[in-house]
Symmetry: D2
Subunit: 308 residues, 4 copies
Amino acid sequence: MSLPAEFHEIAARVNNWGRWGQDDEIGTLNLINDEAVREAADTVRSGLRVPLALELRQDGVQTGVIPGRVNPLHVMVQVNQELFGPDTVATSDDAVTLGLQAGTHWDALTHASHSGRIYNGRPASTVTAHGRSAFSGIHTVRHVAGRGVLLDVAAAKGVDRLPGDHAVTPEDLDEAAEFGRVTVRAGDLVLVRTGQIRAYLAGDRHGYAFPSPGLSVRTPEWFHARDVAAVANDTLTFEIFPPEIDGLWMPVHALDLVEMGMLQGQNWNLEELSTTCAQEGRYAFLLTATPEPFVGGTGAPVAPVALL
Amino acid sequence: MSLPAEFHEIAARVNNWGRWGQDDEIGTLNLINDEAVREAADTVRSGLRVPLALELRQDGVQTGVIPGRVNPLHVMVQVNQELFGPDTVATSDDAVTLGLQAGTHWDALTHASHSGRIYNGRPASTVTAHGRSAFSGIHTVRHVAGRGVLLDVAAAKGVDRLPGDHAVTPEDLDEAAEFGRVTVRAGDLVLVRTGQIRAYLAGDRHGYAFPSPGLSVRTPEWFHARDVAAVANDTLTFEIFPPEIDGLWMPVHALDLVEMGMLQGQNWNLEELSTTCAQEGRYAFLLTATPEPFVGGTGAPVAPVALL
Amino acid sequence: MSLPAEFHEIAARVNNWGRWGQDDEIGTLNLINDEAVREAADTVRSGLRVPLALELRQDGVQTGVIPGRVNPLHVMVQVNQELFGPDTVATSDDAVTLGLQAGTHWDALTHASHSGRIYNGRPASTVTAHGRSAFSGIHTVRHVAGRGVLLDVAAAKGVDRLPGDHAVTPEDLDEAAEFGRVTVRAGDLVLVRTGQIRAYLAGDRHGYAFPSPGLSVRTPEWFHARDVAAVANDTLTFEIFPPEIDGLWMPVHALDLVEMGMLQGQNWNLEELSTTCAQEGRYAFLLTATPEPFVGGTGAPVAPVALL
Amino acid sequence: MSLPAEFHEIAARVNNWGRWGQDDEIGTLNLINDEAVREAADTVRSGLRVPLALELRQDGVQTGVIPGRVNPLHVMVQVNQELFGPDTVATSDDAVTLGLQAGTHWDALTHASHSGRIYNGRPASTVTAHGRSAFSGIHTVRHVAGRGVLLDVAAAKGVDRLPGDHAVTPEDLDEAAEFGRVTVRAGDLVLVRTGQIRAYLAGDRHGYAFPSPGLSVRTPEWFHARDVAAVANDTLTFEIFPPEIDGLWMPVHALDLVEMGMLQGQNWNLEELSTTCAQEGRYAFLLTATPEPFVGGTGAPVAPVALL
């Protein structure tokens, strides 16, 4: 069963291959320029800092359904060890094994492929088993910092959490922008809140995973029209899951990552930010969210912070 | 061989136990307040972004000398896998095993102990083998963002890299502040550049590790006098290694982490920042450097970014 | 709530501390002598080989209930990589992260402690966070090979699988020995079949884990009286779980490992062996079951084979 | 640079594809039948047990030269933890990350491919990045037990250790068989001792790795003519390294694993066995060496034991 015509039509409309040259590896992040960062810094008025990463822990959001995407196994390799003899200064050290996409993370552009291609038309086979993406590995991003905008879809609709079968549409995004009295513009880092992560925070990992509200297959065109730099939300799957169109699995991944070359973020905890934006009456802020630079990673953990 | 009287005298002068209450877990990070963040945001004039993390790779800075502190083993767990059937959207996923202090990182306050105590006078035994610091785990930090100041000691002295036996003294810090025409003040995040990381970047891992220039046992008093929030540099050991005083190993770790409760950062790549600050003629900037929130971690990777 | 008097009375009766000297690290494995191995070899008549290890896989027997005891995460680090240039011989390599007691394994004597002591009266504190048991680590075992005896308790009772609340008693062991027309003697490696592992093999991991039939607190005396060298069975918990005596958790672990110094094996797949023994009409065989020699391990994977 | 004609000529002579059917996954292990196991058991006369595995430790034989083949990182996940409350029985648990071929191991038949093929003519592409060999994964072996034969090439030549540039030839194998007064026959598990591992045991890991004596490209025909079931030795590379024929890398791997379908073992410690065989005057014994059954593994750790 190949991808339907409808998918290919949207793909053609949002495709950015070649837009920043044949050698480009970072896609829409090119849209964040120095001016955008200066303007983002200007949004900091109160000096508040809001962290957006979930705690990394063995009972994290992964349930085992996604093969190999393991929650962190955090272990001590030294505990108060006096390396230099008795009664000297002691140190403790630890190590961890985790899936790079296990917690709050960015997908690299190489996380998805379709029809044998990744972003910018490169062969999908440039992602290899040897722990490397030859192109567009997450480390090529270097830095993610700019104006963040919270589109609080749940709050705009007056609910804590969208229903599990709710596809977030372009109309929902417009509604949330209006709710926050904010205009999305070129180079913005857009955070879309569904409230779904409240299930996890309340202890229901399986309910968090599935079914999940998420972005509709119609949203990539909305982001493309506004030249958004990257999008993150508070779900495991990013897009609505199970999907809107029967048999068309993960179309938003393919459109955002492969066609547009736009980073996607998942498992971002937007609860505290939602409260803070409401209290401040401001939905734009300085967002810094540079992923851990694993060379060739198809994703990486990130500890984003919003400064208001 | 117990710790010498000289150590205990300095310890008494820089001790912050109880300063922010008996329950405090974050020490000098309490010194970053909203006003400091607002002022930090005001330092962003050009909109430049400078990443400070080393790439995370299997041939990273660790040489095997520190037991258990392993370089990242980055592996693919899916490569272009069509999870939902042939000709569907494919995904790639990866996982990693690494020491939490293997690359560019913050030490948590629990990374060091002496005389059976960690920061705030708690028993060192609250750090246990079960992968948890009961107190002051790196996740308690929540966010690190504020005014960053580069003290470019190497540049101030007109060298690319300090000699391996150079202990960075308070006088060196004063000289570098004057060189950068910047005054260190309460709540600052101070970055001290020795140039030592150039050895690693040139391919000499062993030369990077040892011998290494680094902070003198006299610097904690300098930081304490200025109420600095945290300090990072571009070495593996942070302090000069081998140590200045024969038989007194890692005194700076004990003074900074245990006595003052001040985060230390290591393996920060300050080369690009050095160039940028010189070009801009400015040595203060907005620095965001929130560590990955591993629950109970005695350290964690961080991907810091300076915004100028 | 300390350990009850009843526990201490049994402990006194089965205690082997000092029996093989103050320096001994391997306990009842001392009971396997050369003659026992010669006699074991004589039991090989048909030349049949029966493996007793479960496959090691990510969906293994661990459910996440035991902290840190993770199922194998098996990953490729090279796939058909031509390390020496195009059109040369290619190789594939893999790596794994797993709990040493995640699958079919032996507990080392250091796996359990009580009242601050491990086997032979050594302080429990000789097991440290640095990945080492100073004494009695699993590598000290060197080899496990001798006469194996299957006590097929389930078959003796005419059931596929004992009920979840069935404590296997000394009387059950006698019954199974009689069923197999075999006499347990000094130096034997005893395998006790409950059939519980059929739950896991049928896909019910949670039902396998709990509740589980297993050895009664009365069995250590039976093993002690016969000078058995080691005991393994086909359950996750080895002993009945939840326990027979309210509030007395894991008494069999404490008696076998700490007091007697007798290795315990868990998650052994005895199904094929049960069938083979029944077909051959013989319940004694040559068993080789040397654990992977992880230095200082408190347990280790083992791939046992019975030769009949 | 493709494989030379000489290679293809030998390949044609030793090829076993289809010999045990199109569905066969285990190659020459088919040659171990029940009778061979009975005869192997008959070789046990003294009851001696000799372990052949190296200790698994962080300072193991790997030097970092082979990407991803990491020495064991052994960590504690629980240390004397009283899971069920104070003064109860405590347990210690550990976990490990390691390359499956890091220590004493068997290569699976899928470890090597050439010209796009693995054993039995299957496509090399059946080995995938998802942690699976679809065919001939190490778990398909089920058990390895039979008659072991030590060909002590070093002892036959009167040296402790062969020189680093010594290719072990068919003539050397004949000489060692004569030295041990043993005839290699169908189904035998052959151990070839070079003494090279003495370098590692003496602390010289780099000297152990390279240059290394090992099997000549002429030996596969010798093993094929005798219908040997599997071969292991005491080197890192198995075959002589650097290779005998300029530009022909790892031909023995390709001939043994791909063409013949014969397991290879590496890093086996044959020192104690050498001494024991000399003392007993016997070079044949019962060998059990079942690898840990990692599903789809292209190799696996093994803890072999020789019984004499």
